[in-house]
């Protein structure tokens, strides 16, 4: 098979800092080549270098990139313009920002066709319809006139793929094309990409951080770390027999400790949620009349035992986070019963809630938004202690208490007077955990605490949460969209769809023998590693 793209000894620098070091790989005709690595490993830089879209500050030190034996570095900008889109096309992670919000999606596809192929108007329209059909967009004749905001995330990504395919490129660069999508949508888009690859016989450079996606998609894999390719192999060999220690660690991180807590220990329930409803009123007009309701959470019941973890799984918009907020008594709209130690929290007013605020705490998804950038770590952690009157009273005693807390979440005590921006994502998440722990809670609501983190960091944070649970017997309500981490952390699982719980039970039961069709579909869509596929 002939090679489409050859990257040879590519090194990039910014100033004296090395970004990429002697990257070499080759993509042959009709194959899916995956570039895998954690954030900051240089995956996206490589793709930008191929497109010749590198920022000015970055200089190419050595190496060459050849497209069908033609060096891309030798091309002028106007020649490169023709290569982009026509021979190499690209799709991005965020379909929202990649589409122009003030143009109909049909016009955006047509624009590309017109620029690169110079076809007549009627011909173009027919071509757009056929492209939309190819990417399985329903009703292409009506969708043509829709604006991006009228489409869902998955549909937008399909339009992006249609734009990329418009000029029949030889190589498609897909930069994390499914990271922003829900599991079921992700599965559809991945299948679509695979079908297109086969039908059109084009090559795909697939950039991702998700090993499971890679194992479903790729023919060959290269693993990047710190600007270097540490391992390159055929997909089959790669997962069965990883060579490099970093790769081995990555794979073991993903597989996790798959011990199903099969036996149901009879613990008393710490938290009981009965018939919880959160209906947000929709207001309109000058006098803010209520014209309807959005049923974010609709009649949900579950319970969490002492020292247990309940995982709440669902796609975006299913009302998981709203349940978390309702339990924290942060929503005025919540109705029903949230029974914590035989006390219905929803019936309490703000003042009588205060003793319960101490017992229920929260960890957030985005470690960058969760910490006040203008406060030092010690003050961030101290805030809850002061507000709820927990822990020692004097300033020095509090400092010592916080120091011990930081050590407990594996941070250095000397960091306590620093500001959040001096820490990495994983470290910030630990600070968030320390803040919650400072008031010695009995239940922690973890709202997607790991979805913004890299795989290896994710494993560490999950391990920390587990360690803390064993030490202090705290219960978790673990909200997540990622089915793959449920077995690592949870005892029980509840699956949510459109504000309702469709299935709940022990992790082992639900994961192995799902009863509800939605759960079955979720599990089927979740990408799996080679190893598990028999």
């Amino acid at each position: 098979m002939s090679s489409i793209l050859t990257v040879k000894d590519l090194s990039l620098n910014v100033g004296n800092q090395i970004l990429l070091e002697r990257i070499s790989f080759e993509i042959t005709h009709g194959e899916i080549f995956a570039l895998v690595g954690e954030s900051g490993s240089g995956k996206s830089l490589t793709s930008l270098a191929i497109m010749q879209l590198l920022p000015e500050a970055i200089t190419v030190i050595s190496g060459n990139i050849c497209l069908k034996e033609k060096s891309l570095f030798a091309l002028s900008e106007s020649q490169m313009q023709k290569v982009r889109g026509k021979t190499i096309a690209m799709i991005f992670q965020e379909p929202m920002s990649a589409l122009n919000p003030v143009m109909t999606v049909g016009a955006q596809v047509a624009e590309v066709l017109q620029i690169h192929l110079g076809l007549k108007k009627e011909v173009i329209k027919e071509k757009v319809f056929s492209l939309f059909r190819e990417v399985a967009l329903k009703d292409p004749e009506t969708r043509y006139y829709w604006y991006p905001h009228q489409l869902s995330g998955g549909q937008k990504q399909r339009v992006m793929i249609a734009i990329a395919l418009a000029c029949e490129p030889d190589l498609l660069i897909a930069d994390e094309p499914t990271t922003a999508l829900d599991v079921t949508i992700q599965a559809q888009v991945l299948r679509l990409l695979k079908d297109i690859c086969k039908q059109r016989e084009l090559s795909i450079l697939f950039i991702t951080h998700d090993m499971a996606v890679v194992s479903e998609m790729a023919d060959r894999i290269a693993v990047m770390k710190d600007g270097k390719i540490v391992e390159q192999a055929e997909c089959k060999d790669f997962f069965i027999n990883p060579q490099h220690p970093y790769t081995q660690r990555l794979l073991s991180d993903i597989n996790g400790t798959k011990v199903f807590n099969a036996q149901k220990r009879e613990n008393e329930a710490l938290l009981k949620v009965e018939n919880l409803k959160v209906h947000f009123p929709v207001k309109k007009g000058f006098f803010q009349r209520v014209v309807g309701v959005v049923k974010a959470v609709d009649d949900v019941s579950f319970s969490i035992g002492k020292g247990k973890t309940l995982a709440l799984v669902g796609e975006s918009g299913s009302g998981k986070t709203t349940i978390g907020k309702a339990i924290l008594s942060l929503l005025d709209e919540a109705e029903g019963i949230v029974r914590f130690e035989d006390q219905n929290l929803i019936a309490l007013d703000n003042k009588s809630l205060i003793p319960y605020r101490r017992k229920i705490q929260v960890i957030f998804q985005d470690p960058f938004a969760a910490l006040n950038p203008r406060m030092t770590i010690v003050n961030i952690i101290r805030e809850g202690m002061l507000s709820l009157g927990v822990g020692p009273k004097g300033r020095v005693a509090q400092d010592n208490y916080i120091e011990a807390l930081l050590l407990k979440v594996d941070l250095e005590a000397s960091h306590m007077h620093r500001y959040p921006h001096e820490f990495s994502g994983g470290q910030r998440q630990r600070i968030g955990i320390a803040r919650a722990l400072a008031v010695d809670p009995e239940l922690i609501i973890c709202d997607e605490p790991t979805s913004a983190l890299d795989v290896s960091v994710r494993t560490q944070v999950l391990a920390l949460l587990e360690k803390l649970q064993i030490e202090s017997g705290v219960s978790y309500l673990f909200i997540t969209h990622d089915l793959s981490i449920v077995p690592m952390i949870a005892d029980e699982v509840a699956v949510m769809k459109e504000g309702k719980i469709v299935e709940q039970g022990l992790v082992a039961d639900v994961m192995q023998t799902p009863k509800h069709p939605y759960t079955q579909r979720l599990l089927a869509s979740a990408p799996k590693l080679m190893k598990e596929i028999p």
């Binding site: 907020k325 924290l328 942060l330 703000n350 809630l353 205060i354 605020r357 229920i360 705490q361 929260v362 957030f364 998804q365 985005d366 938004a369 969760a370 910490l371 006040n372 950038p373 203008r374 406060m375 030092t376 961030i380 805030e383 809850g384 507000s387 709820l388 500001y419 921006h421 968030g432 803040r435 008031v439």
Partner: protein, 456 residues
């Protein structure tokens, strides 16, 4: 001699005290100190802040008002009588300029009047001559005086600089001097000192020559333009600083409560500022100033001196400007508060049962600080310019008060003359330009350092 405090003097001096207190608070917090250090690491920021301090110094000089006692012979009774008008320290420094009033226009450094007069000379012929100026020496000692001024300027500024270095680094004086000379000090002190030296030399040169010349010329009634320009500094700086001070609390309180509480509070505040900002600002200001003018005309007994009267008018102008200009910042703060109040750290604080007021104080306002600081410094230059525009339109400060706007307003007719009288406009422009430029450069630096989007 009696010290008199005008209303604006009280405000200026209390502001200075607040600033000193604030810098003391800053010096106790290592993090904020570090932030300000980063701001001053840029030599542009250092130089422009020296220029701003220079202007502030003249403002303060001009904000100490005295009423001098009348000389003994003129006193009728036992009690000490005071002069009708009060003077500031700046007036005392420029006393010779106030006294040396010429007959009419004269160009900078001129020895004769700008316009020719018709005279009958000794031979009985009627001739057109440019009359010599009354208070300008005829002997040509321009170069000598300049040299003296230069030497004095260098000596004075070096002395002050050395004193400052000694005050900062008592222990290692010589090595500190060396570091600064080579530009190796932590902060760009060399730039600051060079700027300072240039300013002092320029000032001494202008000042010493002002004894024997009208350095920047004279206006229509023979008043010294140099003196007017220096007097205008106070007006400009006051309007710039005090207006923001009046505007800030309104903007912060309304903006934050609109963003945080939402609901009907948000609606009321939004309607308020939408209404206010859809009325032309000049119209509101003109209405305010004119009604205040009527009131002051009806109560002439309120004021002992004309200075008190024009001072009150300045204060009213500042208040009116403040009331009309909070809407922009309020809108910004509301939007930002909306964003911040949805952030997870605010949710975390709520989960800790922290009260709303504490959330505002600890989580929201500190995160708005960069917007506030940036808009204060940006608004400052805008307001200095606004004063010029308003005085030009005729609804600005009292016509008897020295201000760049009034100078420009007068220059409107002078520019149409043939030959043109350009120096009034020129002086007002240069003085205003330097102030606004320094403020803008400084605000750029503050924006760059404080805006969190810039230090990723």
């Amino acid at each position: 001699m009696k010290l008199v405090l005008l209303w604006t003097d009280v405000l200026v001096w209390s502001l200075v005290i607040v600033l000193l207190l604030w810098s003391w608070v800053i010096s106790r917090s290592p993090q904020i100190k570090q932030l300000w250090r980063t701001i001053f690491k840029s030599s542009v920021a250092m130089a422009s802040s020296v220029v701003l301090l220079f202007y502030l110094f003249f403002t303060l000089l001009d904000s100490i008002h005295l009423r001098l006692a009348l000389p003994h012979e003129a006193q009728q009774s036992q009690s000490v009588a005071y002069e009708v008008e009060m003077v500031s320290l700046l007036d005392l420094i420029f006393a010779h300029n106030i006294q040396h009033t010429e007959r009419t226009y004269s160009a900078p450094f001129a020895t004769v009047e700008y316009t020719s007069s018709i005279m009958v000379n000794k031979e009985g012929k009627t001739v057109q001559v440019n009359l010599p100026l009354k208070y300008v020496s005829s002997n040509d000692d321009f170069m000598d005086k300049s040299l003296v001024a230069l030497i004095m300027g260098i000596l004075l500024s070096s002395l002050l600089i050395l004193l400052h270095i000694w005050w900062r680094e008592k222990r290692r004086f010589t090595s500190a001097c060396k570091e600064i000379w080579q530009g190796k000090s932590m902060l760009p002190w060399r730039t600051a000192y060079v700027t300072f030296m240039l300013l002092v030399i320029t000032f001494t040169w202008l000042y010493i020559l002002s004894y024997s010349y009208h350095v920047l010329g004279t206006d229509k009634v023979g008043g010294d333009v140099l003196y007017q320009s220096f007097k205008s500094i106070r007006t400009g700086v006051l309007i710039g600083i005090l207006t923001t001070l009046i505007m800030l609390p309104v903007a912060i309180i309304l903006g934050v409560s609109a963003g945080l509480f939402g609901g009907w509070i948000d609606d009321v505040i939004q309607y308020l500022y939408t209404t206010l900002s859809s009325i032309p600002g000049v119209l509101l200001i003109a209405a305010g100033v004119l009604s205040m003018q009527v009131m002051m005309d009806n109560h002439p007994t309120w004021f002992e001196t004309t200075l008190e009267r024009s001072d009150l008018r300045l204060l009213f102008l500042i208040i009116i400007l403040g009331i009309t200009s909070w809407t922009g910042l309020c809108r910004l703060l509301r939007a930002e508060t909306l964003k911040i109040s949805q952030m997870d750290f605010v949710t975390a604080a709520k989960a800790f049962g922290v009260s709303k007021l504490t959330i505002i104080r600890r989580h929201i306002v500190p995160n708005l600080m960069h917007i506030i600081l940036i808009s204060v410094v940006l608004d400052f230059s805008g307001l200095v310019l606004a004063e010029a525009v308003l005085s030009y339109v005729g609804v600005g400060v009292d016509p008897t008060m020295h201000s760049w706007g009034n100078m420009i307003n007068q220059a409107r007719l002078e520019m149409a003359r043939e030959p043109m009288v350009w120096w009034s406009l020129f002086s007002a422009f240069v003085f205003m330009f330097i102030l606004v430029l320094a403020a803008n450069l400084f605000s750029d630096r503050i924006q760059k350092v404080l805006d969190p989007r810039n230090n990723t």
